[in-house]
């Protein structure tokens, strides 16, 4: 049994409810015990300046620390931004200042010990790929998945800490019996941060990544970040239009892909909620128990 202080992030509680729901189901299957943190703030998402996001995240980290648990995220942006704060807060002088100026009034103190982990990392490192493999009831054989890490799960190296984490998406897809369809932009930005700022740039990024995946024969794309999902699922129609081409690539959250391989119902995993239809993809799934 592995226990975590669970930080769902704003988007899994907002426009990506299917991420939250599919994750909770999959986590239960893996015996992950979740203590969901309610009294915590938005990570800042790279939008708030560090002077604001560091104290907000220090508060979150302090709460997990008080529970004696690692912090678990299901959003790579939360992961990268809180991880970045945690790295800066490992400097005792900075931590002491944040504690004194912001946390002390509430009686909180962060000692700098909280480990911040994305679900993808926890699945490989705490659950273990052998356990994952052993639970597969519907291998994803014959299906091609383009891994799309986005900005935060591959960089910066001092925040992600372990270089092998740069390949976890591929490792998980293989463990589930699927095939990886590599694309050049898998570690680049999906376009979401600039969607309302420079829409042309944003849609061009989405069209580029999803278009390349389709051209290489992918049946779906796997994303560890709900912001990538909002962009590449929600804006794909406009991106395709702007690029003057057809795309129609289902974008799946990591726990949805895992859940499918574990034999869960696509509807329960929220696949019918996506804006890009997943019907054709779902029709290609094998029946539960086939080849397992």
């Amino acid at each position: 049994m592995t226990r975590f202080a669970f930080y769902p992030g704003c988007v899994s509680k907002g426009f990506c409810p299917e991420l939250y729901e599919s994750f909770v189901r999959v986590a239960a299957e893996f015996g992950m015990e979740l203590e969901e943190l309610e009294d915590v703030g938005c990570s800042g998402a790279g939008v708030l300046p560090a002077e604001l996001s560091d104290p907000i995240n220090a508060r979150t980290l302090a709460k997990a620390e008080a529970m004696g648990l690692p912090l678990l995220t299901i959003c790579s942006t939360c992961q990268g931004v809180i991880g970045g704060s945690a790295l800066r807060l490992s400097d005792p002088a900075h931590r002491e200042r944040v504690n004194r100026e912001h946390l002390a009034e509430e009686g909180l103190e962060y000692a700098g010990t909280t480990d911040v982990k994305h679900f993808l990392w926890a699945m490989v490192e705490d659950v273990g790929l052998d356990v994952v493999r052993g639970k597969v009831k519907r291998p994803l054989a014959g299906l091609g998945f383009s891994p799309f890490y986005g900005c935060y799960l591959r960089r910066p190296i001092d925040v992600i800490q372990r270089p092998e984490r740069k390949t976890y998406l591929e490792q998980v897809t293989e463990a589930l019996g699927g095939t990886n369809v590599d694309i050049a932009g898998k570690g680049k930005c999906c376009g979401f941060p600039t969607l309302t700022i420079n829409e042309e740039n944003s849609l061009a990024m989405t069209a580029k990544h999803t278009g390349e995946a389709v051209d290489k024969g992918a049946d779906a794309m796997v994303v560890p970040c709900p912001l990538c999902h909002l962009e590449m699922d929600g804006e794909q129609r406009d991106a395709a239009k702007a690029a003057g081409r057809k795309i129609d690539l289902p974008i799946l959250h990591v726990p949805q892909v895992v859940g499918l391989a574990l034999g869960m119902d696509p509807k329960e995993l929220g696949l019918s909620r996506h804006l890009v239809s997943t019907k054709k993809f779902v029709a290609q799934l094998q029946p539960v128990g086939a080849g397992a």
Binding site: C10, C16, E38, V40, C42, L52, P156, T196, N201, K208
Partner: protein, 321 residues
């Protein structure tokens, strides 16, 4: 060791047409020196850039075996793959001949936007510690590898890019400079610091560890601290950053609907832009009409904002004084 050197002379990046040359070369030789060797001994018509050959001028950047490199800093032994070294031009600049790119338009012209020298503000001697961040940015050789990795340049060549924005940082953080706010306003125009998507590619690509993405993020924070409202010259950036901040300040977390509407320019413009996808999302149960509520702890988070506003206000007054 025996190496096959392949030079792209025609074709595209995806479908290159190479000329090939065989040469015996010491594995410790730099890739740049080896390329010079090929040109001197086998084909004097080959064109590529290069100058100092010691990692100082940033001129010899090329795509080597598919990865972008400052070629004088890489050895043949470590770079070759199955005895092959294939060179192609970098992707963001137009090619003049073979692998020689036009470095001016998409690198130097952008860097020069921010290259105005220090305008003295009467600051006395500067402590070593105070100059350290500036000195770090000064180590940039403008090799352009950060721009080569940049996600935004990939789709928009007019984005200033991390190399130019590193130059902005170099002057905007100089304690001796008297026109910091002006520089930060210039950098906040369209295609400047607020168009960066902070994907960290630049930081990963910099061969000197200067962390350009970090520098851009710090420059944004400095712009805000200097009273240059986020996205100063880029109204949509300003709306996005301001509404995001207001949402977290008010409720402790993100009110996606409100931020999206505000970012797109208010209820009417935002509503029109978001309506088609919004309706589909509602129908499919991806979005809901539930009102956004305050998070437990919103009061404590609001206090963090209040303290932050007080300290930035104090800094602003100090700068004005």
């Amino acid at each position: 060791m025996q190496i096959t050197f392949k030079f792209q002379r025609e074709g595209t990046r995806a479908k290159p047409v190479y000329s090939e040359y065989e040469m015996d070369v010491d594995p410790e030789t730099s890739v740049f020196d080896a390329l010079v060797g090929v040109r001197e001994t086998q084909d004097g018509s080959l064109a590529f850039r290069g100058n100092c050959s010691v990692g100082f001028c940033g001129d010899c950047t090329l795509s080597v075996n598919g990865a972008q490199k400052a070629t004088c800093l890489e050895t043949v032994g470590k770079t070759q793959k199955d005895g092959v070294i294939a060179v192609q031009p970098i992707r963001y600049a137009p090619v003049e001949k073979d692998v020689m790119h036009d470095v001016r338009k998409f690198l130097w012209d952008k860097v020069n936007v921010f290259a105005r020298g220090v305008v003295p503000n009467g600051h006395g001697p500067v402590a070593d510690e105070e100059l350290r961040p500036v000195r770090k940015a000064m180590r940039c050789t403008t090799c352009g590898l950060c721009d080569e990795g940049c996600t935004v340049i990939d789709v928009n060549l007019n984005f200033h890019g991390p190399a130019a924005l590193t130059k902005l940082y170099r002057f905007a953080f100089d304690p001796r400079d008297g026109v910091t706010a002006e520089r930060l306003r210039e950098g906040s125009e369209v295609n400047g610091i607020w168009d960066c998507v902070h994907c960290w590619e630049a930081t990963e690509h910099c061969p000197f560890g200067l962390e350009p993405t970090h520098l851009i993020m710090e420059t944004r924070d400095r712009a805000v601290a200097h009273g240059v409202k986020s996205g100063y010259g880029n109204k949509s950036a300003q709306r996005h950053y301001d509404s995001f901040e207001q949402s977290v300040e008010k409720s402790g977390w993100l009110d996606e609907r409100a931020v999206a509407l505000a970012s797109y320019g208010g209820l009417v413009r935002g509503g029109i832009r978001m309506l088609p996808a919004g309706l589909r999302a509602l129908r499919k149960g991806k979005a809901s009409l539930k009102p956004h509520h305050k998070r437990p702890g919103a009061r404590e988070i609001r206090k963090i904002f209040e303290r932050y506003h007080r300290s930035t206000e104090a800094l602003r007054k100090e700068k004005q004084a």
